[in-house]
């Protein structure tokens, strides 16, 4: 339990390296953009819940940044995948 912040930091670093490698190795394609957006959501939710400490706050305050994140990521996904 005491190591929660450390575990969250490690997950954030791993997901950031994943994102960077997708770009650096030019692996990014349609399917992987979805995966990248999903990992971005996870990262944002971890920062909101554990670093901001909203996990220990009543649901309405906890949900505001999560909903913001979900809507933004969803709209970015729509903009990317919607046929031109």
């Amino acid at each position: 339990m005491k190591k929660t912040l450390e575990i969250v930091w490690i997950i954030l670093v791993i997901l950031t390296v994943f994102a960077y490698l997708l770009g650096y190795l030019k692996l990014i394609d349609n399917a992987l953009v979805g995966a990248l957006l999903f990992t971005t959501f996870i990262k944002g939710a971890l920062v909101s819940d554990y670093f901001m400490g909203l996990k220990n706050v009543t649901m309405k305050y906890r949900l505001i940044p999560i909903i913001w994140l979900g809507v933004i990521i969803l709209l970015i996904g729509v903009a990317y995948y919607l046929p031109v």
Partner: protein
């Protein structure tokens, strides 16, 4: 379930005023992010070509720096929240040390981003070069100013920890500064893949 709800804090950590600012900032940046994503659809080739001029490695390093600084700040907040009357000085001193690392990260971010701007402007790129660079410069410069302000706030909080100004009853100022800093991190977490990676 109701017992669990009763254990939860009623309000987020820090002053309510800082959370109003955070919500407004999230909304403002959110509109920019969505505006970028939909503008990109109008000229995907232009956005992809322009993106090649960005340095993904510096974007990655800056993401790592902000995530790590957020971790340092969260460690400081944890000390504040577990502080007792018996260890006020020790907790403030320890938190001060974590904040020093976080401030160093903030300065490093500003330095790297400044070098990136210097490189971009050196190539004659500005807000009117094309739509990609208009969004890139607006978003990253706006964010840069938030990091600058966040670093100043952390420095101010750090100064107060040095005089053991925070107590178990009153450490809201620390939490407010920390919440603002985490928001800056949260925004960059979305900005990095959107501007630097997705193509």
């Amino acid at each position: 379930m109701s017992n669990l709800a009763a254990l939860k804090e009623k309000y987020p950590p820090g002053d309510f005023g800082v959370w109003v600012i955070i919500y407004v900032e999230l909304l403002t940046f959110g509109l920019f992010f969505v505006g970028y994503a939909f503008s990109r659809r109008a000229d995907v080739e232009l956005f992809n070509q322009s993106q090649l001029m960005l340095n993904q490695t510096s974007g990655f390093i800056n993401t790592f720096i902000l995530i790590t600084s957020s971790y340092f700040v969260a460690k400081g907040v944890a000390l504040m929240q577990t502080m007792t009357q018996e260890n006020i000085e020790v907790a403030n001193k320890e938190a001060s040390r974590w904040l020093k690392f976080a401030i160093a990260c903030g300065v490093a971010f500003l330095f790297i981003k400044g070098a990136e701007f210097y490189h971009i402007f050196g190539q004659g790129i500005n807000l009117s070069t094309n739509k990609f660079f208009m969004f890139y410069l607006l978003l990253t410069m706006f964010h840069f100013m938030h990091v600058l302000l966040g670093t100043v706030i952390l420095f101010n909080v750090h100064q107060r920890t040095k005089i053991s100004a925070y107590t178990p009853e009153n450490h809201r100022g620390f939490e407010s500064g920390a919440s603002y800093w985490h928001m800056v991190d949260l925004l960059w977490i979305v900005l990095f893949p959107l501007i630097y990676i997705i193509r």
